[in-house]
């Protein structure tokens, strides 16, 4: 097979085009470099590659029997070449893994279902612009100078897993009939905003069967990251149109036959590859046993997968993936200890369990790989700055009060006691790996100093105390509030200690562990005093900004301001001038395509966030870990742990392979 490239088409706009093409190559190179040596330079000629042929043996058999077209016809004209992380592999084997069952499909999607028009490079750091974005399903893409037109070139001869051709029609269906549909996006919680700029959604132009262009009225600076992150767009029209009311007037019959309430429910079920084994996909593996059908979710090789290794052999190497349903994480740990999993990185892998796994790894034949955290903080305490109760609002809104509380926390003791001595004291701030890292922002007010804390609390105006030594609020009553948490990790222990620290400085805080749904109800209704939650935005700074400015209803420290922002001033409450300035900067950022300008704007937003000191951070996480069998290869030594970057799918699982 000819050595395929990703930049054969003549570039329309030089720089962009160059970046896109170079990105793909650079990404692969970096990926190969990740392994830390061992990747032979002449890997194309290894005996493994020569012996194994261009396709998996069982597919070759099917071709022989005439049940499948030959591999050359199944691959696109220019298949994407994936540089293996370590070395070229061999066909065969099932990737054994596990997940918690319904509601935890994320684990499946993150491992095996990441194929967008564009994608992140495997060593993603959240840099602004498209430096870390490479073409994927699209063989190349162009963006015009002002960021209003995004053109994508599809791969000629690329096919769905059922052999049907993949064309611009599918993209058009995905955009026009799903994203722009009147009912579907809201009812399926698809984020339409990513496809709009200035509140107006893009129009899609199908230039030819292999070329699509998104046209925005106003520049959209964040479109590529949004595409690299969300992949809802790419669905098979030829299969799904039968479930769509606009394409099938008789959809009601299908709805009734499937026992669904509406065509939307039916469509939502059919479009989800974890729930529906029939939907054609472009992923390395297609679903054989969906969620709920058995005690496992099983995926099998997609015979039409459109990526190859450098030797021209069709990927994936592994025959399939098998996710065992294990609801209880201790049972999952037991499985890990016994060596049941080839590569696994979720649910069971707490720092607490690491010593046990370390003990078992020799017998069970696995080892650790590093999960590089992408969270900004293990736990942030978000005092409700827009509290319904005017007294608590006044107290919380006082920056000196928050600084005082922050100084009162002995973060090193938290690390030593509840975080297994892992991590560093930190506020909510971009991580060191991020281009937005700012030491001042990370470390401000993290010093444990009770006297300083008392000074700040006195300066805040709460120097009066009652008989029990509790500081009195503006209403003359002791300052007393709840910090709610859903017990996601070890919030209960952390808050228990913090409650003690704050009692030392005369503040009565009580942790409140509640069910997750109750927490959701409370925070959506702005009924919380304060919420403790792990803070995101450690690496995904630009695309996940609500930790640094109250921009969405995930900003629990100021729900009313966020409402004001998202509703365009119709609801909620107007925030102070500095926050409004942040909003303006962010709006500007959204419409700025240039990476350097984006970086400037975001840095300014972060500077204001540091100044505002919205919420109190505790500890920045140390590295996590996953496990990988010694016989399971091509998993990088370090994988970024981020749902935004879709790890570990980010590291190209199609090139994982087993070899004893």
């Amino acid at each position: 097979m000819n050595r395929p490239t990703t930049s054969r088409r003549p570039p329309v706009i030089g720089r962009r085009m160059f970046l896109a093409g170079a990105g793909a190559v650079a990404g692969s190179v970096v990926l190969a470099a990740c392994s830390g040596g061992g990747s032979g330079s002449g890997s194309d000629d290894t005996p493994a590659s020569a012996a194994k042929g261009k396709e998996a043996p069982q597919l070759a058999d099917l071709v022989e029997q005439g049940q499948l077209p030959p591999v050359e016809e199944r691959l696109p004209a220019e298949p994407l070449v994936v540089e293996p992380n370590d070395r070229i592999g061999q066909y065969g084997g099932i990737w054994q893994s596990a997940f918690n069952g319904p509601g935890d499909q994320t684990g499946i999607a993150l491992s095996t279902m990441y194929e967008g028009l564009v994608r992140w490079v495997p060593d993603w750091t959240g840099a602004p612009g498209d430096e870390e974005i490479i073409a994927n399903v699209a063989s190349s893409y162009e963006v015009d100078a002002d960021g209003t037109e995004y053109t994508f070139h599809l791969r000629e001869g690329m096919k769905w897993s059922d052999g049907e051709p993949f064309t611009a029609d599918d993209i058009a269906f995905g955009y026009q009939d799903i994203v722009l549909n009147a009912e579907l996006p809201a009812k399926m919680a698809i984020d339409k905003n990513a496809y709009s700029s200035g509140g107006v959604p893009a129009t899609l132009r199908v230039d030819d069967p292999l070329t699509v262009t998104f046209v925005f009225e106003q520049p959209n600076g964040l479109f590529l990251p949004a595409l690299a992150e969300a992949v809802t767009l790419i669905v098979p029209k030829h299969y799904l149109q039968q479930f769509h009311a606009a394409h099938n007037p008789d959809v009601a019959a299908l709805v009734a036959a499937e026992g669904q309430d509406s065509w939307v429910s039916l469509f939502a079920l059919k479009v989800d590859p974890t729930m529906n084994a029939d939907i054609p996909v472009i992923f390395p593996w297609k679903t054989k046993t969906p969620v709920g059908a058995g005690t496992r979710v099983e995926l099998e090789r997609n015979p039409y997968y459109w990526k190859v290794d450098p030797g021209g052999s069709q990927l994936p190497y592994l025959d399939g993936v098998s996710f065992q349903v294990i609801e209880d994480n201790e049972v999952m740990l037991a499985g890990a200890l016994q060596g049941d999993f080839d590569m696994h990185w979720r649910n069971f892998n707490t720092p607490t369990n690491k010593p046990l796994l370390a003990d078992a790894r020799e017998d069970a034949g696995f080892d650790f790989f590093e999960l590089t955290p992408s969270q900004a903080n293990r736990m942030s305490i978000m005092l409700n700055l827009t509290h319904q109760n005017p007294v608590l609002r006044e107290v919380f809104a006082n920056k000196d009060f928050r600084i005082g509380l922050s100084h009162a926390i002995d973060r090193q003791q938290l690390i030593d006691t509840v975080f297994q001595r892992q991590g560093t004291p930190s506020q909510v701030a971009p991580r060191e790996e991020s281009p937005f890292y700012d030491e001042e922002m990370t470390t401000q007010y993290t010093e444990y100093d009770v006297d300083l804390a008392n000074q700040h609390l006195d300066a805040a105006g709460f120097s009066q105390r009652d008989d029990a030594g509790l500081r009195l609020g503006p209403d003359g009553q002791p300052i007393r509030f709840l910090v709610s948490h859903a017990g996601v990790t070890n919030e209960a222990d952390v808050l228990d200690l913090i409650s003690g620290y704050w009692a030392e400085v005369g503040i009565d805080m009580r942790p409140e562990g509640i069910e997750r749904t109750l927490l959701e109800e409370r925070r959506k209704a702005n009924q919380h005093d304060a919420i403790a939650w792990p803070a995101g935005g450690g690496v995904d700074v630009i695309v996940n900004p609500h930790w640094y400015l109250p921009a969405s209803n995930r900003s629990d420290y100021a729900q009313l301001w966020a409402q004001w922002f998202t509703s365009g001033g119709a609801e909620g409450e107007a925030p102070p001038a500095e926050v409004q300035q942040q909003y303006e900067l962010y709006r500007e950022l959204q419409q700025t395509p240039a990476a350097d300008q984006q970086e400037q704007l975001m840095k300014e937003i972060l500077r204001l966030a540091a100044e505002q000191f919205f919420h109190i951070g505790t500890v920045a996480a140390g590295p996590g870990y996953g496990i990988v069998k010694n016989s399971f290869h091509n998993v990088p030594a370090a994988v970024t742990d981020s749902f935004r970057a879709k790890s570990p799918a980010l590291t190209n699982p199609e090139q994982y392979f087993t070899q004893a």
């Binding site: 009812k187 026992g259 509406s262 049972v331 037991a334 499985g335 016994q338 959506k524 609500h546």
Partner: protein, 330 residues
């Protein structure tokens, strides 16, 4: 007797109606609904869901309807069409989900009951006949230990021992290779190899209760004048024991049927959860947690029906055993 049964059956209808209504309301009692759960799952994956979308999701699942309307749709579909609705979370008909889990739940429950009876009967008998002997003390202590150790702890402990000492496969009821395999002798053996942990854990708790009740009842009977009379007439001890007192004392075993029946459907929740068993218990717990209300509702309704039926059954059995109760029923 027939009249009694018919009357009771007739009375079941309003009872069940009330139970279904209240159960449905109780399922809704926890804050939020399935839409909240779904949204929090989406948000955990970085998506932002605004209030309008939340409302749209509610609408999609019919959660925006008044609760009375929701109840009516639910119950009328069950009564008129035998349709238990759709599980939100599993995206499957509730009936299908239950039918895949029920057989193993029933197997587990029945094995547990059998285990309980087999262990409790001889111990209870022995410690009543040989009251205050060392054997009695030892038997009761061992029996009660099962009751006294919290179930989940025993489950986890056994699992840990199985894991570290026997290097056995823990969690679930089948090894990986037999999970989806068709029934065969080997698969059955595999099931037995996994079943012992939950059966012991679940059985030990019930055993102590039965031992104590059997012993107590038997002691009550053994000291009654008719036994003294029988003994004075020279009947053998064994004969005395088995002819009457045991028959009376055994009634608690029969009344267990009353609670076994609902358990066939609900299974045991905590232990099943710890051991990750593919039974209905964890299904119910998860459904309640995620507010998957038709699934939770169906399980709870079935359990309620069987509780009522079970009560009736044990009443009838008791009546057959004990003529005094039969008379009182008129």
């Amino acid at each position: 007797m027939l009249g009694f049964v018919a009357r009771r059956l007739g009375l079941m209808v309003p009872t069940l109606f009330a139970i279904s209504l209240v159960s449905f309301a109780i399922i809704q009692l926890p804050p939020g609904d399935y839409a909240t759960t779904l949204v929090s799952q989406l948000e955990d994956n970085g998506q932002t869901v605004d209030t309008a979308q939340l409302e749209a999701i509610r609408e999609r699942y019919g959660l925006d309807q008044p609760i009375v309307v929701q109840y009516w749709t639910w119950i009328s579909n069950i009564v008129l069409h035998g349709d238990f609705g759709q599980s939100f979370q599993w995206n499957q008909p509730v009936a299908e989900l239950l039918s895949s889990r029920l057989p193993l739940t029933i197997v587990l429950t029945l094995s547990t009951v059998l285990f309980t009876w087999i262990v409790a009967f001889p111990i209870g008998l022995y410690s009543a006949v040989r009251q205050y002997s060392w054997g009695d003390y030892v038997a009761t202590t061992v029996g009660f230990l099962g009751l006294a150790i919290p179930n989940f702890l025993l489950a986890l402990g056994l699992m840990y021992i199985a894991l570290t000492v026997f290097d056995a496969d823990v969690g679930g009821l089948f090894s990986a290779e037999y999970e989806e395999a068709p029934w065969s002798l080997a698969r059955f053996a595999d099931l037995l190899g996994h079943l012992w942990i939950p059966v012991i854990v679940l059985g030990t708790a019930g055993t102590a209760g039965l031992i104590r009740i059997l012993r107590a009842n038997l002691l009550d009977e053994l000291h009654k004048p008719y036994v003294v009379a029988a003994r004075s007439r020279g009947l053998s001890e064994t004969r005395i024991l088995f002819k009457y007192p045991l028959r009376v004392a055994v009634s608690p075993f029969l009344s267990t049927i009353g609670w076994v029946l609902p358990l066939l459907v609900s299974g045991e929740i905590v232990v099943s959860q710890v051991l990750s068993l593919p039974t209905t218990g964890p299904l119910l717990l998860r459904a309640l947690r995620s507010q998957d209300m038709y699934l939770a509702g169906a399980i709870i309704l079935l359990v309620s029906v069987l509780t009522v039926v079970g009560t009736l059954l044990s009443d009838i059995l008791l009546a057959r055993m004990d003529p005094r109760v039969r008379l009182g029923m008129r």
